[in-house]
């Protein structure tokens, strides 16, 4: 047997390229299968006065219409705090909210019928924006404040102070496969739900509750998703519940696949934030005090807004030691879709706050922003306590930043860009190098657990089931590698099955970048148990000491004998040795007291830094990233190709968020960018022409699976460098004498208006310019 290949391709790669990897909509439909569609409200806030379903029922092919009152169990698909009715009851709280669902014999009939349902709504005043919510005190849950030292005092004593307001837009997940579920009634009213979800356990629970049944009566299965990014953590539930309710009502299989426009108006997105900040520092650029109010548009319900804003607060220090810090998080209730998890989970917004402020500090001092960043990084052994009082023990940023500064040729390029800008009045370049430090673990400690099931079959092939879900991130590939390496098997001897709630129960969502950390450890635990049994069996059977049994790529060495894995397990089976087992893992050492905002919420941190160079058009505001150098910390990579894909994909997704993708609500609270025609994610051309990615060569200090590090989310935040490089280029239009205000996304419009604003300010007397 050969050494396991260092970077096997994604377990489904050959199926993907052949179009032979089925997603839910591709699966054969049962003969009785119905298609479903949703009727949505078109106003942001109002009282539901009448729903006339007769025109829908009159259409040929329509089998059933479902309203809130028809739900046999609990009409709520909220993950934590109730408040997400599957179908609207009497109040409409956002434009796009689901009011009724139709099942029909064809997709066309279902969609046509849904469009004919007459929904009468008595409109009420709507709170659409964060500003409005703050003004009227509309919050989902109480605000939280994290404190270290005394920020007010620190600010008062600081030699210099700056303050500002920053707005960061939200982001649609734009997973290429939209939300979809197929519900298949089974005997005795049981239900099998195939769902494109990151959280099959939650689908199981919510479907059971909606049907008024026990969790034992519902099974949820996920083979793969066509992308998730957090958008299928809680947001898959409504689609699954509606399919299941219609299946219950009709006794037939029901498939609900959302049209893209419906998906984008119905489901939650990344939170947009208003950030009010104050920073105190000295002439050297050392920060002494940081006070920030992070206000998120939570939308119409709590969903995951609490932990999202928590994570924004946990990352409002990013990489910097803050002697005095006050970090407040506000969860605004608005009459818009309920915002949710999205890669980074609030972390990026928190980081943007301090990175932006540091950029302002540097401009105020006339320093290079990199120097201000380096001067404020967390230290080793001192200056290492976060605002939530966790001590950082694995900091590598000072070394990593210096390494990137050198490898990206930052200083020379800074000079070259200045010269270039002096010669080019209509195009400007900008440069920024920013770090990212991302805390790994669910901040809700109990979620940090996972289970797995490993089956060794008598031919020596292995099946693994675990609680995580495959959404493209390569989790199943990595888990297969982990189990293969435990038995020293070839990668293709191990198959990871679909995730099914009847195999591994009570799972957490595949989220928080923790999929491999948690499920990998659980799978390794299961494999280890079997391995130990095999060793015990071998020792006894072949009469050798256990330490003479070794699993190698060439087979199993038993003393001087060599067997194949299949031979060993075959003999073990005959000797009635259990060849399958379960594994479990709970992350150690973590705890957090949310009341006091203190604790050790993170098992470790993932680090990275990026240097981006931007080019802008002074007359149009268009921008482009010319070069990006990324240096990222993945620990000991289990699969470098997959990790590289996460880093590159994360950066580009972050680039889209911060520079291009714009969610635009009209004043009445209707989202008008609800399709790829109006909502523009990056294309291949937006990839920096010169794109260099390197891994930081150091194992994880924490005892993670193979000493690897989580990689799903952190690289997204490397794109902050791109946004601030654009800001740098905008500042160049005023020869860096003034600092521009540049909210995100930095669309051509925002960039041009920022340039115009600089022009206007340049004409003002000096005191009035800031």
């Amino acid at each position: 047997m050969a050494e396991p290949a260092p970077a096997p391709p994604h377990e489904s790669a050959w199926l993907h390229v052949a179009g032979a990897a089925p997603y839910i909509d591709d699966l054969p439909e049962r003969a009785d299968c119905l298609h479903a569609a949703i009727a949505q409200a078109s106003v942001a806030h109002g009282r539901l006065t009448k729903i006339d379903i007769a025109p829908a029922l009159a259409l040929p092919g329509v089998v059933a219409v479902m309203l809130a009152k028809d739900v046999p169990g609990i009409n709520d698909c909220a993950p934590i705090v109730a408040g997400d009715p599957i179908l609207a009851v009497d109040e409409i709280v956002y434009a796009g909210q689901a009011v009724a669902a139709v099942a029909a014999t064809s997709l066309d009939a279902a969609r046509r019928a849904a469009s004919r349902i007459k929904i009468a709504i008595e409109p009420m005043p709507a709170i659409v924006t964060v500003d409005r919510a703050l003004a009227v005190g509309s919050f989902l849950t109480p605000s939280q404040t994290m404190t270290k030292g005394d920020a007010a005092d620190g600010l008062a004593r600081a030699p210099r102070r700056l303050e500002g307001t920053l707005r960061l837009g939200g982001q649609d997940h734009f997973y290429l496969e939209g939300q979809v579920a197929m519900a298949l009634p089974r005997e005795g009213g049981d239900m099998l739900v195939l769902s494109s979800t990151q959280h099959p356990t939650e689908i199981q629970h919510l479907v059971a509750k909606a049907l008024g049944r026990g969790f034992k009566d519902v099974v949820c299965e996920v083979r793969r998703m066509g992308g998730g990014f957090g958008g299928k953590e809680t947001q898959a539930a409504q689609t699954a519940c509606i399919a299941a309710l219609l299946a219950w009502k009709t006794g037939r299989a029901v498939k609900l696949r959302l049209d893209r426009d419906v998906d984008m108006t119905l489901t939650g997105k990344r939170h947009d934030f208003r950030i009010d900040w104050q920073i105190g520092f000295d002439d050297a650029g050392r920060i002494s005090a940081w006070s920030v109010d992070l206000a998120a548009r939570g939308g119409c319900s709590v969903d995951l807004t609490d932990p999202v804003v928590d994570r924004a607060m946990f990352h409002a220090d990013n990489a910097y030691y803050l002697e005095h810090a006050r970090i407040a998080g506000h969860r605004c209730r608005t009459h818009t879709v309920s915002n949710t998890a999205f890669r980074g989970f609030g972390g990026p917004q928190g980081m943007c706050a301090i990175e932006y402020a540091i950029d302002e500090v540097a401009r105020a001092l006339g320093k290079d922003a990199l120097d201000v960043r380096l001067a404020n990084l967390y230290g080793h052994g001192s200056r290492d306590v976060t605002p939530y009082h966790q001590r950082i023990k694995d900091n590598i940023l000072p070394e990593l930043m210096r390494a990137l500064e050198t490898s990206s040729d930052y200083r020379n390029r800074r000079r070259a860009i200045a010269a270039w800008n002096a010669a080019h009045p209509w195009l400007k370049k900008g440069l920024a190098l920013t770090p990212a430090k991302f805390g790994i673990s669910f901040t809700n400690t109990f979620l940090n657990q996972a289970g797995a099931l490993v089956h060794v079959y008598t031919d020596g092939t292995v099946q693994v089931s675990h609680g995580g879900t495959e959404m493209g991130q390569g989790l199943n590939t990595k888990i297969a590698q982990v189990v293969a390496s435990a038995f020293a098997l070839d990668f293709d001897r191990v198959k990871v099955t679909a995730t099914v709630t009847d195999k591994v129960p009570n799972t957490s969502a595949t989220a928080a970048s923790a999929g491999t950390d948690l499920n990998g450890k659980a799978a390794a635990d299961a494999a280890d148990k079997i391995k130990r049994r095999l060793i015990a069996f071998g020792a006894e059977h072949f009469k050798v000491p256990p330490d003479r049994i070794r699993f190698t790529a060439q087979g199993i060495e038993v003393g001087t004998r060599r067997l194949t894995f299949a031979e060993l397990v075959g003999q073990a089976y005959m000797a009635r040795v259990q060849l399958w087992d379960s594994g479990f893992y709970a992350t150690p050492e973590i705890h957090f007291d949310r009341e006091r905002q203190r604790g050790n919420p993170f098992y470790y941190f993932a680090y990275g830094a990026a240097c981006s160079e931007a080019l802008i058009d002074v007359l149009t505001g268009e921008s482009r990233i010319l070069r990006a150098d990324l240096l990222h910390d993945v620990g000991n990579s289990i699969n470098p190709a997959i990790d590289l894909g996460q880093i590159e994909g994360g950066y580009i997704q972050g680039l889209g968020w911060l520079t291009a993708e714009e969610l635009w609500w009209d004043p009445a609270g209707r989202l008008r960018t609800h399709a790829p025609s109006t909502y523009k994610i990056p294309t291949a051309r937006d990839l920096p022409e010169d794109f260099r990615v390197a891994f930081w060569p150091e194992a994880n200090h924490a005892d993670t699976i193979h000493r690897s590090k989580a990689v799903g989310e952190p690289p997204l935040m490397l794109a902050i460098s791109a946004w601030l490089a654009i800001k740098d280029a905008v500042a160049a239009t005023a020869e860096h004498r003034l600092s521009p205000q540049l909210d995100a996304p930095a669309t051509p419009e925002r960039v041009l208006l920022a340039i115009e604003d600089l022009k206007r300010r340049a004409k003002l007397p000096a005191e009035a310019r800031s």
């Binding site: 391709p9 994604h10 489904s12 790669a13 050959w14 993907h16 390229v17 052949a18 179009g19 032979a20 089925p22 997603y23 909509d25 591709d26 046509r112 469009s115 734009f174 997973y175 290429l176 496969e177 793969r224 066509g226 992308g227 998730g228 893209r260 426009d261 209509w426 195009l427 493209g472 058009d617 007359l619 149009t620 505001g621 268009e622 482009r624 894909g645 590159e648 994909g649 950066y651 580009i652 291009a660 714009e662 635009w664 008008r672 960018t673 790829p676 025609s677 109006t678 523009k680 994610i681 294309t683 291949a684 051309r685 937006d686 990839l687 794109f691 669309t747 419009e749 041009l752 208006l753």
Partner: protein
Amino acid sequence: MTRPIRFLLGDAEVSEAAAPPTLTLLRYLRERRGLVGTKEGCAEGDCGACTVAIAEPRDGRLAYKAVNACIHFLPAVDGKQVIPIESLGGDHPLQRAMVAHHGSQCGFCTPGFVMSLFALYHRPGRHDDKAIKDMLAGNLCRCTGYRPILDAARDALGEPRRDRFDEAETATLARLETMRGEPPLDYAAAGGRYVAPRSADQLATVLAAHPEARLVGGATDVGLWVTKEMRELPLLVSTAEVEDMAYVRLAGDRLEIGAAATYAGAVEALSALHVDWRLLLRRLGSEQIRAVGTIGGNIANGSPIGDTMPPLIALGASLMLRKGGTRRSLALEDFYLGYRKTALAPGEFVEAIHLTLPPAHRRFAVHKLAKRFDQDISSVLGAFAFDVESGRVVRARLAFGGMAAVPKRAIAAETALTGQPFERAAIEQAMEALGRDFQPLDDHRASAAYRLTAARNLLLKAWLELQGGDSIRIHGHG
């Protein structure tokens, strides 16, 4: 006489007589053929997940194009070979390269990427990075960040390129020729009808007899009426097979463009007039859109943000309109009566666009502004034609998209320029005057303030570039 739709699906000959005429190729493949490798990501032509290749005879060879199956009506494949991902068999060089370079993560976009690259694979010549990115501008991937896909493309598109489709070319051509021996398609099923005349005369006759018919070119607008608006279109008459309306030709001092010419078909002739046409058309939609979308459709659709109209207006284009045997000529700028309202009479259609070749002293520029460089609808588009003699502007035609309810000339700005030296001061006067020409809209694409500022700056930019020197576009002319 109605007849079934006949085409090749991969290698298999298909005769389809039951599918409704407005059934999309995507749904046909997925729902009626069980070919589920082709995905739906948006059903509006914007994500490329549904991309399939279509091969058809051209000049004795097979010409391949990538199309968005999600908005492609099934009857439009009559007489052609449809190649969905399944036809590649799983071991095509492109597929091997995608695996080798880790080009798929979730895999949902992957078949579409493979099929776009497949169309490029079958296009002769070397394909540099720009060609690859142009080809992929209509394919979205949310996972990979594209680098591995580009690497796979570079790898697989090296020469020599030959696959089993090349091996079978002669046989495929022969089979398609036989199919094309059939009379023009007149297809009726499930209460709908689709007629695809092959000459302008036939088209005129059908339309005169059925003024209620809906014309369709590439269906890059009309397709969405079906997939997004669920509109019923009982009678469609296609221009896609009208051979004598697909020309782009020089006739004396005139460039004549048949209304059924696709963007892809017209790009070379228009670019010969001015390089900005190439840059504009490269950004209009995607390869998939440009392969089928027609200039006639763009004009007739009458969107205020349609891209070809402002430059055509700036160049003084006129339309040849035809109803039955009667033709009339109308200046393009007079064709638009109001928001999406045109001067077309019932039964009348656009037959051709006529463009007098620009005189030597004409300076011309087009600038498109959108949130994204690739495949995005313009927020503002400015097209500028300055006739400059002895340093003076003798005539200026400035036309904008996105600034009013219709594509429109900026008369006040033109007046401000006319007779003035072609210098910055006059340009600034004209920029000022644009505020009198337009009160643009605030919407999700751009605010009124941005539109007006940007429109002014585009005029300045055009002038600056016409002074010579380096390109001042972030993507250059390349």
